[in-house]
């Protein structure tokens, strides 16, 4: 019985990991918490909904479409909003990102309304294995999330651009002096971060349901995962996401499920009190 909660927690953690890594790396790179990641999740979910329900695409192609659309939206937001503000106090950018979140969320609400929606996917029977009920979608989500995390890690540690990205995050003036094209690196990170968040939004819509507050409902958990992992650490954010996901699911055994989204908030408070640099302990 409780193994079922653990499994569900790992799936939730897999979904959380994608925006958590994006949020954490963008925070380190751009030096402000980008709240618009919340809206990117929702944009991804609705982009896939449009392709899936509107154009009749199967969900796999709709998911790829959502990656592209969300990456593009994130890049446009960065270009129009954050780029002109790069030299300003980081908090000004954080405020602007809240404004962006409301704009995107309400464009979606204006078009689709507040109803809960679902993707058009064939109904499959859940498998039973060692007493666990495992949905086909849950396996797909977990597999793709693991693959994406591996890709991100390989990109960050093995490619020139990935290493340049980490260098820029660590020390922007030094990276610039050494010839790293800062704006290109930021542009690429934004595209990648947007794609990760958008893909996770589709997963979340598949796992639960789709409405304009989809991203807003998850964002505290995303923050908790990133802070728990240590800002700027991709493996940290992944570990943080798994822990937050598992604690949230298993926690419903002890506390009323209505408080599920409060768990992330309390994890943040505990981390700030006990180990404010997070698991990875990166200098901040």
């Amino acid at each position: 019985m409780s193994a079922q909660y653990l499994f569900n927690g790992i799936v939730t953690g897999g979904i959380l990991a994608l925006p958590a890594v994006a949020f954490s790396l963008l925070w380190k790179l751009l030096r402000f918490p980008n709240f618009a990641v919340s809206a990117y999740l929702t944009v991804g979910a609705f982009a896939a909904l449009t392709a899936n329900r509107g154009l009749g695409w199967p969900l796999a192609s709709a998911w790829l479409g959502a990656l592209a659309v969300t990456a593009l939206v994130a890049w446009l937001v960065d270009r129009v909003t954050f780029r002109p503000m790069r030299a300003r106090r980081p908090f000004s950018l954080a405020i602007a990102s809240i404004g962006v979140t409301f704009v995107l969320e309400n464009v979606i609400r204006f078009v689709w309304g507040n109803d809960f929606r679902a993707y058009d996917v064939p109904v499959t029977r859940a498998m039973t294995w060692a007493g666990l009920r495992i949905g086909r979608e849950q396996l797909d989500i977990l597999g793709v999330a693991v693959a994406l995390m591996l890709l991100a890690q390989i990109f960050l540690t093995r490619t020139r651009l990935g290493i340049a990205m980490r260098a820029t995050a660590d020390n922007p003036p030094l990276a610039t002096v050494k010839g790293v094209p800062t704006e290109r690196v930021i542009g690429l990170a934004t595209l990648g971060g947007g794609a990760l968040a958008g893909g996770a939004g589709v997963f979340l819509g598949l796992d639960t349901s789709i409405d304009p507050l989809l991203g807003a409902g998850l964002i505290i958990s995303v923050f908790a995962a990133a802070i728990l992992g240590g800002i700027g650490s991709a493996p940290g954010a992944l570990a943080g996401a798994l822990i937050v996901g598992i604690v949230e699911e298993v926690g419903t055994l002890v506390i009323p499920p209505t408080y599920k989204s409060a768990i992330g908030f309390f994890i943040i408070l505990v981390v700030l009190l006990v180990r404010p640099t997070g698991l990875a302990g990166a200098r901040t």
Binding site: W27, F32, P33, F35, T81, P84, M85, R88, R89, P90, F91, S92, A94, I95, A96, I98, G99, V100, T101, F102, V103, E105, N106, V107, R109, F110, G113, N114, A216, I220, F223, I227, P256, T258, Y259, S261, A262, G264, F265, I268, L269, L272, L273, P276, T277, T284
Partner: protein
Amino acid sequence: MTGYLVAIATLVGIRALLALGLNVQWGFTGLVNLGVVAFFGVGAYTAGLLAVAGVALPAAWAAAIVASALAGALLATVALRLREDYLAIVTLGFGEVLRLFLLNEAWLTRGANGITGIPRPLRSWFPAHYDLFYLGLVLGCVALIYLALERLRRSPFGRALRAIREDETVATVAGKNIVRFKVQAFVIGAAVAGLAGILFGHYLAYIEPNMFVPQETLFVWLALILGGSGNNRGAILGAVVLLGLLEGSRFAKDVIPFLTGVRLAAAQQMLVGLLLVVLMIKRPEGLLPERAP
């Protein structure tokens, strides 16, 4: 029509108080509070619940202000220990968790039904023009807080806050305890938001959890940035202009046919978000820029 104007002016006054409180935090000190609505809610609920339980109003109000200030002190102390941007996240989370609490702990907060019959102060003294009296009360509070915060702005304390906002290293070298000043500034702002909540609850005589949603926080931010952060008069002016904007856009429904209730609300929030972004990029100093005291 007069009734409508009086009601609007009362709500402008309450939002002006919220903007004044946020101005101490963001305008003076550079602290990001994304949970303005939560401190507003703590004030409204504490005062409302105590008043309905029969506690004398002055005592209920004092308790409500203390509760808001305490919530601010706790959050700021935890969040500001390491780095400042955690404050933004913690306050945003607090807003969400408070709303869950208000909705689910019906034994204390009466849940989604809300609190009805919150007494209106000195109702029997003004049988005829009570709403005018209440408007006077709200505007009196705005004037009082404005004067107090103007004094604070010109005081050595206010100067220290600005120094911290501009350059923490320099302020540290000058011997200032940065974290303590920040927590104090945050608590003052939270207490002012609590006062606004008290006035809000007793004005409507009814409060429920969905009055305290994140977009209220966004509105207060827009009011402050629009009016001019760092400038107390700007905070008040911003609240006036914002309400004009929101009320004005309500009439768009009569002109544009396909604008349903949901769409109108969405369009309003879209406009507010967009305006905030454009101001942050193009005119961060607002209508009335900050002036040296």
